[in-house]
């Protein structure tokens, strides 16, 4: 009976996701432009939060380099944008970002705990200032123009990137490598002594997560059209997705997705309604969330659900 219950639950979940996807995919056809743009930024944050959770969730290596990988995608788009069509441009952004992660990973993934966190965050600043310096002294510019793509185009690009990402994360988590990633988070030394090539696995998965952040950056660049290093390497992009993932719940795949959706919407809502107090309300909201929902929204729902079903069982 337990088996039947899980299967029917799975079918229900699958159906719901499909329905949601169809409704979302049709948005540019019926929704106002404002909604499409909002949905695009929600998708963007979903991509960054899910990619972040892909690596940092199971391994416990808290990376704050998301802004660097996202920015690398943006800047690549800005450099190659005039020469390449959109899909290739996104591909180039993804690739550059992944290569950067391979390099950074090889250098830093031997660091543990707070040292790793600090280095990854330092990377964002380093890249920002390096490119600022480069643009001023070498190319003599401070900003670049990216050929704009339509709102609907950017929206669909994000949707496709997210779909591929979710599929990738799903496959990795189901595979032996998903197990190996969790084992690294649980006890890295034991994992190594049980035959896991921990360094290679960490670096590769880190690069995969950067790949998708870079792709999202390149796609987003076409909507922002004008970019400079300070726009591209915005440190908030390192923090916000982490908060989103924690808020939604890091462990399940849909945790960061739900977190990103609610967070982005909430931010938009607060900015438009309470432009002066929005940061304050947002901050309070965050503190409450972290204090009372250590396993995120998903964990909270599961707890309430369990309590309710237990009560029902007790009644019968």
């Amino acid at each position: 009976m337990g088996m039947e219950k899980t299967t029917s639950k799975k079918i229900l979940t699958f159906g719901l996701v499909l329905l949601l996807l169809v409704v979302a995919a049709g948005a540019p056809l019926y929704a106002p432009v404002y909604t499409v743009i909002l949905l695009t930024s929600i998708l963007m944050y979903m991509i960054i939060a899910v990619s972040w959770a892909l690596f940092s969730g199971p391994t416990g290596y808290i990376s704050l380099a998301s802004a660097a990988f996202f920015g690398a995608g943006i800047y690549t788009a800005a450099i190659v944008g005039k020469a390449l069509p959109l899909p290739l441009m996104i591909g180039a952004g993804a690739l550059v970002s992944a290569c950067l992660a391979l390099l950074v990973g090889a250098l830093t993934l031997r660091l543990k705990g707070i040292y790793f966190v600090m280095f990854t965050f330092g990377l964002v600043e380093l890249l920002l200032h390096f490119i600022l310096w480069w643009e001023v002294t070498m190319s003599g510019t401070t900003g670049r123009v990216v050929p704009p793509a339509g709102n609907a185009t950017v929206f669909y690009a994000m949707l496709i990137i997210l779909a591929i990402l979710v599929l990738t994360v799903f496959m990795i988590r189901r595979s032996r490598y998903g197990l190996a990633l969790s084992s690294i988070g649980e006890n890295e030394e034991a994992a190594a002594h049980a035959g896991v090539h921990v360094t290679a696995l960490k670096i590769i998965v880190y690069a995969v997560s950067a790949l998708f952040m870079g792709a999202a950056g390149a796609a987003m660049a076409t909507r922002w059209t004008y970019i400079d290093p300070r726009i591209a390497f915005n440190p908030l992009v390192s923090f916000v997705p982490v908060l989103m993932a924690i808020f939604g719940g890091i462990r399940p795949l849909y945790g960061p997705i739900i977190g990103a959706a609610i967070f982005t919407y909430l931010e938009e809502f607060l900015i438009t309604r309470f432009p002066y107090y929005y940061m304050l309300i947002f901050g309070i909201f965050m503190v409450v969330a972290i204090l009372y929902m250590p396993d995120g929204l998903v964990g909270l729902t599961q707890r309430v659900w369990k309590k309710m079903s237990r009560r029902n069982h007790a009644d019968t």
Partner: protein
């Protein structure tokens, strides 16, 4: 040819020689006991063999191949597995997944999923944890956590197994069961090197014993030879031991 051979194995921590110029040989199929007072360098020697800490001076060969400079995962895949003095399990993962990891990654070459699952199941069966596959590893008793580590090591198909104080902190019944487990592992044809403080276990399970003191090897031989060795009695069993107590 010995299955494991160390020559001049040395490791300093600062100015302290944790392991100093130790030569050792482990014959295939034997159970070798490694004893010595606290701080004698036993665990450091294990760490050097399994490459948990790099060996800078001396050399170690496994199955005739030099393993100095290899990484832990490479050594594991060659067939040399270990357990840890303070258990290092994947606490939040189910018992089964702890062992499955070893089956997936610890063997030579790529293994099919179904094959790995059955290897993990049989390793758990072997150590007597088949009834707890879904339990989070951290909820097991210490004795069972130590068995879980053994199962994870066995799932990597080792030819040589290093057991680091498997009986520490166990009660008398659990010690007896652990001794039986070591014998069963030995019967499978797996060579065992075990660090142990429980003398009863060492004396009855090991065919040969090596004694470390201040990082140096001070004696080696059968349990009878070692337990009557004068130096060993002085440093290990206490200096003034009457025949009646010994």
């Amino acid at each position: 040819m010995p299955i494991l051979e160390g020559k001049g194995v040395t490791r300093y921590f600062g100015g302290l020689a944790a392991v100093s110029n130790v030569d050792f040989q482990v014959e295939a199929g034997e159970v070798l006991g490694l004893i010595g007072p606290n701080g004698a360098g036993k665990t450091t020697l294990f760490n050097l063999i399994s490459a948990a800490i790099p060996l800078r001076s001396g050399s170690i060969a496994f199955k005739g191949k030099e393993i100095t400079g290899l990484k832990p995962y490479q050594i594991c895949r060659m067939g040399l597995a270990r357990t840890f003095q303070t258990v290092k399990i994947f606490g939040n993962l189910p018992v089964f997944d702890n062992v499955l990891l070893g089956a997936f990654f610890g063997g030579e070459g790529r293994i099919a999923s179904a094959e790995a699952a059955s290897a993990a199941a049989s390793a758990l069966e072997f150590v007597g944890l088949a009834g707890a596959v879904a339990t989070p590893a951290k909820d097991l008793t210490l004795a069972n956590q130590k068995r879980l580590e053994v199962a994870r090591a066995l799932a990597t198909c080792p030819e040589l197994l290093l057991l680091d104080e498997m009986m520490e902190g166990l009660n008398a019944t659990e010690v007896n069961r652990a001794m039986d487990l070591v014998r069963m592992i030995h019967d499978k044809g797996i060579t065992v090197v075990m660090i142990e403080h429980v003398m009863k276990a060492i004396m009855s399970v090991c065919g040969r014993i090596m004694v470390l003191h201040h990082g140096a090897k001070i004696a080696e031989g059968t349990p009878r030879e070692v337990s009557t060795n004068k130096t060993v009695i002085e440093v290990y069993f206490g200096e003034r031991v009457d025949a009646s107590n010994g």
